[in-house]
Symmetry: C2
Subunit: 366 residues, 2 copies
């Protein structure tokens, strides 16, 4: 339990005219309570109200996790026939029927939702994603320290991997080696995502999955990877040249590098998120490749690999101290090659601090 965060949540519920918020297993629950559960076939829900202990509905065999915590537990046995009754009793104990119970649609499954709703069939369940994300979006010093460590671990791991990359290796082999190095350098095994390693035509797909394609001279090689440390993640991208690459590919690499720098320079406290997107995008548009930068410029990082704030051209949300996010412009030439250069920035009172410092200039591998 984190009393400071729970007190802020209580205040936020009142401001939002919510009688409660219900969370299932996931990062917001960990943020508020420190409780880790899996999203399994056994539903787990925690109901937060202002001024009362949180109510936890969970399998009996998970009860040890609550030992000593100021919560009210409603454990259920293995037989699913008993689950509905346990959920009803929990929801009823708070008198929530007909009330406003906030949910996080991105995280909440129908599994938990339907059990909760069966105990409060007349309640409203508005989207309350903002209530918790407004707390989570401003990282405190410990959270920034964890992200900083996750950046260092990721960078050390890739530095250790680069000398091992040879022409003829598959994307999957390189990705697997990078995972081993991430673990050796101190990442938790629950990583934010499996490293993307994509070469040549596959690099033109921003969301590629490492394949059995062998890298060969002429490829740009996109490596998009991250580590997890103390429950917080990093998310970086560097793009390499496999041997000699075409002049145009060197040029788009340089343009992406300049767009990345322009985006980072625009990360001023008080500026809207869209200013960062526009600054990075302007560089690529001016160079004539605007149509090949097909995604937003970045996204928040923290307990999740993707969270608020989103660095989109339509997002007027102002940057505030404590916000941590990626700046990751890219250029994707369909069926040919692609480049992306991604850094992790945190906003301080004084301005942006870039947590990642690995060389961005094109390096030859293989």
């Amino acid at each position: 339990m984190n009393p400071t965060r729970l007190a802020k949540l209580s205040a936020a519920l009142q401001v939002s005219h919510l009688d409660a918020i219900v969370l299932n297993a996931g990062p917001s629950l960990v943020y508020l309570t420190g409780l880790h559960f899996h999203l399994s076939e056994r539903p787990v829900a925690v109901i937060f109200t202002a001024g009362q202990d949180p109510v936890v509905i969970l399998p009996e065999l998970e009860m040890r996790k609550l030992s000593g915590l100021p919560v009210k537990a409603f454990p259920y046995p293995e037989n699913p026939a008993a689950w509905d009754g346990t959920f009803r009793a929990a929801v009823t104990s708070l008198g929530l029927d007909g009330k406003r119970i906030g949910v996080e649609p991105r995280q909440m499954r129908l599994l938990e939702f339907r059990y909760v709703k069966s105990g409060a069939s007349e309640a409203d369940f508005p989207d309350a994603s903002d209530v918790v994300s407004r707390l989570r979006v401003r990282k405190d010093a410990d959270e920034v320290a964890a992200i900083r460590k996750a950046v260092r671990v990721a960078q050390s791991a890739l530095e250790a991997t680069l000398p091992l990359i040879k022409t003829g290796m598959t994307e999957k082999e390189i990705s697997g080696e990078l995972v081993v190095q991430l673990l050796r350098h101190g990442s938790q095994s629950a990583m934010p995502f499996a490293p993307i390693v994509s070469g040549g035509p596959n690099a033109a797909n921003p969301h590629a999955t490492p394949s059995d394609r062998k890298i060969h001279p002429g490829d740009l090689l996109v490596v998009d990877w991250g580590a997890a440390v103390d429950g917080y993640v990093s998310d970086l991208t560097r793009t390499f040249a496999v041997g000699e690459v075409d002049e145009e590919y060197r040029r788009i690499h340089q343009i992406a590098l300049e767009a990345n720098a322009a985006g980072r320079a625009a990360c001023k406290p008080g500026a809207p998120c869209l200013a960062v997107d526009k600054a990075a995008r302007a560089v690529i548009e001016k160079a004539g490749y605007g149509q090949y930068f097909t995604h937003r410029t970045g996204h928040g990082i923290g307990m999740e690999g993707h969270e608020e704030p989103y660095i989109r051209g339509d997002n007027a949300q102002p940057l505030e101290p404590g916000m941590a996010f990626t700046v990751e412009p890219g250029i994707y030439l369909p069926e040919r090659n692609g480049v992306r250069i991604e850094d992790n920035v945190v906003i301080t009172e004084e301005g942006p601090e870039c947590l990642s410092d690995m060389a961005r200039e094109i390096q030859v591998v293989g």
Copy 2:
């Protein structure tokens, strides 16, 4: 796309009086279509109806994944304001309002569900988990081969880890080393779960997370681990003795071993799942430790670490050829020590085949 599985799905929809089933990113979607998406802040849904091409609603930047596939795509741009309209258009194109649209509550998030519902506000959304799981529960030869490989990779990885385990190492260190060995031996980096390594009092918690506790003589050491190969998982447990352990702990290890053997022997085609649970549980109850076996005897494995069939005392579902699952009795002495021995079994026409064969007898480590 898997035409055989899609044809079976069409038939199953008709039997279940469903007009459609809607899936979001996850294993059932991969099973039917081969399409991998992340559960991200961008909703993705695929609507299956009998006799029409599946309808896919997805971000524009994911469109490459559909290249050449017989689907009808409804891509949406980065701006969330446009998503609702895209979902409405997709659902409306199938004329589904007022109809019966099945969902998987364990997988479906409110994020996707609410967008789909906004295009079919008068539809019913019954739980259709069984429709897909009845297909998935009977593994074909390729699926069994993948699970078999995942078992072999897991066993080789633990064999390589055992000589490295020393008294004084923390549970986390041992778990990290095991992950490295899993990758080296061929596991995908997206593993079913992070290995559980829990010693002494922590071993008394069946769902422990590896901690900073150092293992020391007298501990039972539970290692619950698995690999993922070709999208299919294994899930095994062996329990070791760190140095000399108390006589009672050796005894509960032997009882768990006999319960495991009894459970595996009861895995006959046509027998109900509950027979396996009862056979394993009877051994532990007879030995006087029944109250310390606090969970079901097993669960299905396949694309997920936990899926049907569930080996519970109240599950009369008959075992059928192709079903693959764990048999994992345990004994947990609160605050003291614990033991679990887990194997992976697949049902064949002739009887049970145990895919795992690593020694189950107590071995000393450290």
